[in-house]
Symmetry: none
Subunit: 218 residues, 4 copies
DNA sequence: TATGAATGAGCATTCATTCAT
DNA sequence: AATGAATGAATGCTCATTCAT
């Protein structure tokens, strides 16, 4: 059976509850991203989601709640993307540099992609109003990916391919060497950074990282 | 003579025009920082500045203009602070590591201090509404300080104390190694990071930096 | 059954949408009439209509739109009243003078009545801001009634009871002879003009009119 | 001595008090005419008059007072213009029709000219707020000119050139036959009425007037 | 459950008016 | 006498939220 079950022809197929809730959360994140929290109006969110305004309230009590849920959902997505990228280091292959550059390059796309950037911007912007969101979001992004990366680095250290006794710090710095320059060059995302420049950033980051952390400065 | 000259006791001493304009810009930045752009209301800004609401409009036509000017003024301040810190590298002394750690430590206080963080948060948050502000703010913060730092690194390279042919990149990465971990550890500023931990971040950054950029990995 | 059906006692019986829109337009015209366009505030209009302020905006987007619609609706009403009066000339009877005096007298009540006068005042007052309204309002008042009157006069001319080859001009002058003196005597409506004086104006107008337009100066 | 007396070269010659008061009244009328009473703002009036806002208050206490004086001054001007036109009937010459058509034509220009129209519009518009102004303005326009015209008609009646025992009424109707059609054709002044059409209106008015009031229907 | 309609509260902005110079 | 600057009081309009269907 299709999700729309016996959907009568004509009217747009009724979406199930779940479907609608998801549409609202997606729409909310999109609108919050382009208007900010206070600047977003529930009316616009409802339109973006294709539902009526009270429906938004039926599903997510109020604007605050809506914001929290939309942010959390977006953070979950970003987390999943990032973790998937890091997984690639489970099988680093012979060429560690190449593997790190590959991962770095991909992380630059997820960490500094549209969704991740909006997430960061909204979190930053609402620190005063929603201080707890910082924890939720960072927990699913920087922190979680730092852990995952730390795990990989620990394995590599054990295998003698990295020289560090603090893999967490190595991960922290690895990420910093990637995202810091990227944010600067893209001017917080307002300037398009081409694939070549992105790769160069990754290469430079890995270069510095390996000089500092590879045994024998390899 | 005090500026208020023979100020009769009682009413608050009248401040001059300049004084008032400055008070408004300061108040505006403070309020925008804690409420966000849309969340801030001009009434509150006026109160913070100790003037009546229309006075705000007399000096700065409208909310948008007020925002732009407040942001620019704050960016100027942050820039000045940062540049002052970097100056210290003009006389690095014998112990380069110590000098870099000192600068790093101080940069962590200015770059991740309250004002700089609010500035970044507001810029991020209003990217969609004020895309040009990104340029203004970044130009006076990351970019400008990157240049200044690059200048110092170039001199050090000439003096044979750093090993790099791209001082700009070295500066970029130096900053990234400082601010990246700081933002992570302070959870975007919501968590207090003690002096000890701050110093440790600086030390770690310098450690990695020197392993990558000091001749002979000194 | 009353429209409010089984309206529980207590709250005021809910009016339908149409009802509310009409109430708003009526209230708006009343308030505009006594305050002028700029002097009227939407709050007062809302109160006059017995609804909340945003309801006014829900139905009629903004003050300008509200004004246009209120004016048009009022013009429609005045037009209907006037046309009904002129209809009486379809059956003039034997005594033309009496018929004309009757019509004149009644036109004085509609043309110079409260609504018509407010309509004219507002149109006049807002010529600069709403130049197109002059067309709308005049089209439904002076012009339309001039046409209707012209039609009647044409018939009368055909029947040999009026001597004119330009019934439109006759109508124009007939109206002028009625409303001109009325406006002067009532000092634009600020002075009460009694029934006797009104009749006298009508009689004088018809007298002059017939001297000019009746065959043989009857 | 020039009014600006020993005006030092350079700065605009200082105008005397009288001059300034007049400039304010003129500016006020101009601004009220294009914005309406409530829509006009004192700032704009001050600019139009070329003085600073407080100067307006120094000369004319408040907006209400300013309005009254500006209206009265404008009414005086219109009155003078109109009376000058009517004077022409003191020497009607042999051709009464021609004289009346001439006067009618000129009255159409003054009575329905820009200033007179604005005056009427403002009076109408502010009937509710300034009911006494109706008397002031009408007294200097319709009424006064009606009287003057009545005087001339009385003389003409005495001379056997007009047939009426109520010259006031004749004057009232004469004016009505002129201004009524003019207002209608010009759509309250929003449509340009050419010289030819204006003359035609005057001719038609005089035609009807003489049929009604000339002895032997001459 | 989903929605058209209604509303209380709030906000940017303007304006008449007043000081202090 | 004339003005730059300051302000209390509105006003148009929007928005989050709630009814009633």
């Amino acid at each position: 059976m299709t999700p729309a079950k016996t959907a009568a022809a004509g009217r747009p197929a009724p979406r199930g509850r779940i479907d609608k809730r998801q549409a609202i959360l997606d729409g909310a994140f999109a609108v919050f991203a382009r208007r900010g929290y206070a600047g977003a109006c529930v009316q616009e969110i409802a339109e973006e989601a294709g539902v009526a305004k009270p429906t938004v309230y039926n599903h997510l009590s109020d604007k605050e709640n809506l914001f929290r849920h939309a942010m959390t959902a977006a953070a979950d997505l970003v987390m999943a993307e990032n973790l998937a990228v890091v997984e690639r280091l489970r099988e680093p292959g012979d060429d560690l540099r190449a593997a790190l550059e590959d991962v770095g390059n991909r992380l630059l796309h997820t960490c500094c992609g549209q969704r991740a950037r909006s997430l960061r911007a909204l979190t930053y912007a609402q620190l005063a109003a929603f201080p707890d969101l910082a924890e939720v979001v960072q927990g699913r992004t920087s922190e979680r990916i730092g852990e995952a990366l730390g795990d990989r680095f620990a394995r590599l250290a054990l295998a003698g391919r990295l020289d560090t006794r603090d893999p967490a710090r190595a991960a922290e710095q690895f990420l910093a060497l990637l995202t810091g320059p990227m944010e600067a060059r893209s001017r917080l995302g307002t300037r398009k950074v081409g694939a070549t420049e992105t790769q160069e950033i990754a290469r430079a980051a890995v270069h510095t990282f390996l000089r500092a952390y590879a045994p024998g400065n390899a």
